[in-house]
Symmetry: C2
C-alpha cells in the first residue's frame, strides 16, 4: 500500500482543468489499494479519490471496471462513481498513466468483523450480484481455473521453500479442482475480491463497496466463497461457523442459493483459497526488495486450503 | 513517505474512547511525513490527522513540539493544533507508539512555487519567528554545527562513492564553518525544515504551516537560509535570484533583518546546505533496501553548497 507515482499539485491542476469539480482544497497520497496510486482530493464541491492505474490494471479493462461502477451505482449500490471529464471521458492520462477521479465514500473497513458485520456484508454481495444484471460489458476471470494452472506452473518448483509440503498441496488441490470445477452454476458480474478491506461500514451498516479491479463475469457462489474465506477465519486459522452462518444467511436474505450452488460450496471454497494462495505465493517468490509494498503471507491461505480439503459438505460452513 | 505502523479501525476505536471528537466517518493512512505514520481521520465533528511517532521523534521532545504548535496557533499562526484527550494529555500510546491527534489543515503544498509564493511563505516564516516569543520550552538544534561534525565523521569515508570530490567538499565546508559560524545573531524558535512541502496554500495565499518535528531554538537567519535553499533553486541547480529577492522581501515585510544577519547570510547558506547534504548522504549510505521510503539524492545539496562556497556577499542572494 503506497503511492507509486508522484503527482504534484501542478500536475493535479493540469488534470483538473479537464474536469468541472471545483477548486482543490486538499490533496494527499493515501496508502490504499495494492497496485494503484491513490490520492484523496477535496475540492470546494466535494471529496474524491484520484486513482492512477499502475501496471496491473490494463487500460483496455477500464471501460469494464468504471462502467460497472456506474452501472451498480445507478442501481443503488453504494460504490465509487467515476466522475466524467468535461469531454465525457471516464479517465484521462496523467504522467503516462490512465487516471480516473471517483467519488469518495465515507465509512471505515473493519479488520475484525463480527457476525453482524458478516451478515450485512453478505447481503451487500447478493445485492451486487442482483444489480450487475443488464450490464453490457464482460470480462473473463483472469484468475480462474486456467489462471491457477499458470500460477502453479510458475511457482511450484520453489513452493516448498516457503512451506514444507506446499508443492504437493497445490498439485493435489489443482488436479482435484480440474476434475470437479463446476461450469453450470448461476453466473454474472462478481466482485471477486470482497475482503473486509473493500467493504466500508458506518455505525455497523454497510456504507459502500470499493476496489472493483478484479471484477469479472464468473459464478456467484464462487464470489460468496471468496468472502467466506476472507471474512470467517479467525487469526488462529480456525473457521468461525457463526460468522459463516451469518454471512450466508445475509446473502440468502437477498438472493436464494440453488441446490447445485450449495452442493458445490466445498469445491468452490477450495478454489477460492487456492486462488489467493497462488497469487500470494507468486508475489512472495517474486518480491522486489525495493518495492514499496510488503507481500502478504501465502501460508494463511495454505492453512485454509488444507481445512477445505477435509470438508465433506456445505453444512460444515454453516449452511 | 509511507505508513509504518498498521492501525486498524478497532485500534482507532480504542484510541478515540480517550477523546471527545465524535464518531469516525473515514480513516485512511496517508503517504506523508518522512518518518512518522500519519492517518487522515474524519469524524462527524471535523477532520484530523492521527500521527504515530516512529523512532526519529523522541517522546521526551513531544511536549516541546506539540506545545509549540499550541503556542503558535494561539498567536494566530495557522498550524495543526494537538487535540487534547479527555484526561488533558497531548498524546496517548497506541501500538507501542506515542500517538497525537491534530487538527487537519486544508491547503496544498506546491512542488514548483513561483516568486509570489516565495514572498508569501517568507512572510509566514517571519510571523512564525515573531510568534515563538514567550514559549516556555526549549530544544537545542540537534542538527546544528556539532551535529554536522558527527554526521561528517560517519559519512566522509564513503562520501566519494556517491559523488567524486564529495569528501573534500564536506571537509572544506565544515572546517570553514567551524571557524566562521556566528553565535551572536538574533535567535528564538525556528521551524528548521520549512521546505515547500511544509507550507500549504489556498488560492496563492498561505493557509498553513505543518511538520514541526525539527523545530528548535536557533538563529532566525539560519531558518531563512534553510528556506532560501529549498525554495529558490531551480531543478537545473541554478539559484533563482527573483525568487530569493521575493522570499527575503516577504520576510522583511514582517521582521527586519539586522546588519549582522545580512552579513552572515553567505555562511548561513553554506551551513544550511551542508545540513541537508549530510543528512541525505547519511540516509543514502545507510539506506535499508527493505525500507518503505526511497532516500533523497544528496547531490542536489552538494551542488548548492558548491554554489554557496563561491558567494562573496549577501547581495548575490537578492538582498
Amino acid at each position: 500500500m503506497a503511492v507509486y507515482t508522484d503527482v504534484s499539485f501542478e500536475d493535479l491542476e493540469g488534470l483538473l482543468s479537464g474536469y468541472d469539480i471545483g477548486l482543490p482544497l486538499s490533496f494527499k497520497g493515501i496508502a490504499e489499494g495494492v497496485e494503484n496510486s491513490n490520492f484523496y482530493l477535496q475540492t470546494d464541491r466535494g471529496a474524491y479519490i484520484l486513482t492512477l492505474y499502475e501496471k496491473r490494471v490494463r487500460i483496455e479493462d477500464l471501460p469494464f471496471f468504471l462502467g460497472l461502477m456506474e452501472h451498480l451505482a445507478a442501481r443503488g449500490l453504494n460504490c465509487p462513481q467515476p466522475v466524467r471529464a468535461r469531454d465525457g471521458s471516464q479517465w484521462l492520462m496523467l504522467k503516462g498513466r490512465a487516471a480516473a477521479i471517483l467519488t469518495f465514500l465515507s465509512g471505515i473497513s473493519l479488520r475484525r468483523p463480527e457476525a453482524g458485520h458478516c451478515a450485512a456484508a453478505g447481503g451487500t454481495l447478493a445485492r451486487l450480484h442482483d444489480s450487475g444484471g443488464g450490464f453490457a460489458l464482460s470480462r473473463p476471470n483472469a484468475l480462474g481455473l486456467a489462471g491457477w494452472r499458470e500460477l502453479a506452473t510458475a511457482t511450484i518448483a520453489r513452493a516448498d521453500s516457503v512451506q514444507g509440503g506446499l508443492a504437493a498441496l497445490i498439485a493435489d488441490a489443482l488436479a482435484d479442482l480440474e476434475r470437479r470445477w463446476p461450469t453450470d452454476l448461476p453466473a454474472g458480474l462478481i466482485h471477486a475480491d470482497l475482503f473486509p478491506d473493500n467493504v466500508l461500514f458506518m455505525q455497523d451498516k454497510v456504507s459502500g463497496v470499493i476496489d472493483f479491479y478484479f471484477a469479472c463475469r464468473d459464478m456467484f457462489a464462487y464470489d460468496l466463497s471468496v468472502m467466506l474465506n476472507s471474512w470467517c477465519f479467525e487469526s488462529d486459522g480456525a473457521y468461525n461457523v457463526t460468522k459463516g452462518k451469518a454471512l450466508i444467511a445475509g446473502y440468502r436474505s437477498v438472493r436464494a442459493l440453488t441446490p447445485a450452488e450449495i452442493d458445490a460450496l466445498p469445491v468452490l471454497m477450495r478454489g477460492a483459497s487456492l486462488r489467493f494462495l497462488l497469487t500470494r505465493l507468486y508475489d512472495w517468490l517474486n518480491h522486489d526488495p525495493n518495492a514499496l509494498v510488503r507481500p502478504k503471507d501465502p501460508r494463511e491461505y495454505s492453512k485454509r486450503l488444507r481445512f477445505h480439503m477435509q470438508v465433506k459438505h456445505a453444512g460444515e460452513y454453516g449452511l
